[in-house]
């Protein structure tokens, strides 16, 4: 199940693990990404907390934790090669994985159709 936030993140739920990345729309709007800072594994983060930074050639923007949870994995490949996020934002360009206590908290986010309507 993939959900979408108004901050243009996609959330992929598998058991109690959520993989977080940015949408194709966001990657295109940001332009060429040149720097990414990721959270630390083990960080306990609260919904809305800024956990990651993206710098494109144009501007800096933040990625916030969509829900409460613990960071369990980060994608070091995008730190080494930020262009991966432009090339494959919904695949190889994922950002981090978090373990969440309450999968139901994802219900409030948009599904694909709602997100498509949101960005139009």
């Amino acid at each position: 199940m993939t959900k979408y936030t108004e901050e243009h993140e996609w959330l992929d739920l598998d058991g109690d693990i959520v993989t977080v990345g940015i949408t194709e729309h966001a990657a295109e709007q940001l332009g060429d990404i040149v720097f990414i800072e990721l959270p630390e594994i083990g960080d306990e983060v609260a919904a809305g907390a800024e956990v990651s930074t993206i710098e494109s050639v144009k501007a800096a923007s933040d990625i916030s934790a969509p829900i409460d949870g613990e960071i369990v994995e980060v994608n070091d490949k995008i730190v080494e090669n930020p262009a991966l996020v432009n090339e494959d934002p919904t695949g190889a360009g994922w950002f981090f994985r978090m373990k969440i206590a309450d999968a139901g908290a994802l219900d409030e986010f948009m599904d694909e159709d709602e997100y498509k309507a949101f960005i139009e």
């Binding site: 332009g31 060429d32 040149v34 720097f35 930074t53 710098e55 050639v57 144009k58 800096a60």
Partner: protein, 382 residues
């Protein structure tokens, strides 16, 4: 996201339709609708200027002829010297030079290019300062000069190692031109005023031409091998790598030409002991700073990590210093440099290349070294 209202109000350059057909992402800049980037993206557009050729629409910039009322150009040249600390009268026919308008306090009102066309000076100023500058010239030089604003002309910059071949393939006689030469020549059958200059650090040309012929010429240039359109995003990363100042960011009324590291723009003849010493606004401060050195300087900064330090990142002398000593005025990722770069104003005793300073980014003090400018060597054809 573009500001829709500002976009509706924005003036359109003669190349607006071409930008739309090339699917540019447009945004308002200094009151003009201009391309930020094309679908290829800023990194590729930047690379085109460094490795092949990039075409920029800079028609938003203000163009004018300054003509002497006496009929003798020398009169207009000496008049312009009363507003700018540069040698105008020493500029040979067919040559262009960088100039600055200064304030009575010794700040910079704008930077501009001027060329000697024999019977007139050709002046190009920043879009955001166009009204100010032309008003300033009229207010102070009307006794000696006639100012003719050129509102029906476009300005195209073609920059990069393949620019010359593209120009010559369209019949422009530019092969003998050196950096900062100016000449009238036909390009794709259209009479143009061409200078061998630009603002990217590369060899290249700026082409002033009639607005109604600009689209055809731009299209003809884009058909030449290696020529790609480029927007304001690439223009900014290119000029920053080249260590060139952006008015409103790196220089303004609060910075003097000497603080800004532009003493090279003030020829000896206008300095103390020179034949035409002083006689421009702010001369007292500027001439003193040229001799004794300024309190602060614009420097290059190379962050040691990968995080860009954008304006207005505060700059500290140490990791735990309480007060900043300076501020980043331009900062970005340098595509050719392959890392972040910035320019900042810091006290002169912290301005030596190699000095380690700290920029505070998102609450963290990150190390950066003072570096010589430009970050990427210029490739001008001298």
């Amino acid at each position: 996201m573009p500001d829709d209202h500002a976009m509706d109000e924005a003036q359109r350059t003669p190349l607006f339709a071409l930008h739309e057909s090339l699917k540019a992402r447009m945004a308002p800049f200094a009151g003009w609708a201009l391309p930020i980037q094309y679908p290829s993206g800023i990194l590729r557009e930047h690379a085109a200027a460094r490795e092949a050729a990039a075409l920029f629409d800079v028609s938003h910039m203000g163009q004018a002829f300054l003509r002497p009322k006496s009929g003798k150009l020398k009169g207009a040249m000496l008049a312009l010297e009363t507003l700018a600390p540069v040698s105008v009268a020493g500029l040979a026919e067919g040559r262009q030079r960088y100039g600055l308008f200064t304030s009575p306090e010794g700040g910079i009102l704008d930077d501009f290019m001027f060329a000697n066309l024999g019977d007139a000076l050709f002046i190009v100023v920043n879009a955001a300062r166009r009204e100010h500058d032309f008003g300033h010239l009229r207010a102070h030089l009307s006794d000696a000069c006639e100012l003719e604003e050129l509102t029906d002309r476009a300005l195209i910059a073609l920059q990069g190692p393949k620019a010359e071949a593209a120009m010559m393939a369209l019949g422009a006689r530019v092969g003998e031109m050196r950096f900062m030469d100016v000449a009238e020549t036909a390009l794709a059958g259209v009479p143009c005023l061409v200078s061998r200059s630009g603002y990217t650090g590369e060899d290249g040309f700026e082409i002033s031409l009639p607005a109604d012929r600009a689209e055809g010429v731009a299209e003809a240039l884009l058909e030449q091998p290696g020529v790609a359109p480029a927007g304001l995003g690439a223009r900014d990363s290119l000029r920053l790598e080249a260590g060139l100042c952006l008015y409103g960011s790196d220089i303004d009324e609060t910075t003097s030409p000497v603080e800004a590291g532009l003493p090279w723009a003030i020829q000896k003849i206008r300095r103390r002991g020179g034949a035409r010493e002083g006689g421009f606004p702010g001369a007292e401060r500027i001439l003193e700073e040229l001799e004794s050195g300024p309190a602060r300087l614009r420097v290059g900064l190379l962050p040691e990590g990968r995080a860009p330090m954008r304006a207005p990142t505060p700059v500290f002398a140490s990791e735990d210093a309480a007060e900043p000593i300076g501020t980043v005025v331009s900062g970005a990722f340098g595509p050719t440099l392959g890392g972040p770069m910035a320019m900042a104003y810091v006290p002169t005793d912290h301005a030596t290349p190699g000095t380690r300073l700290y920029g505070e980014v998102r609450g963290k003090r990150l190390p950066a070294q003072v570096a010589s400018l430009p970050f990427v060597p210029h490739q001008y054809k001298r």
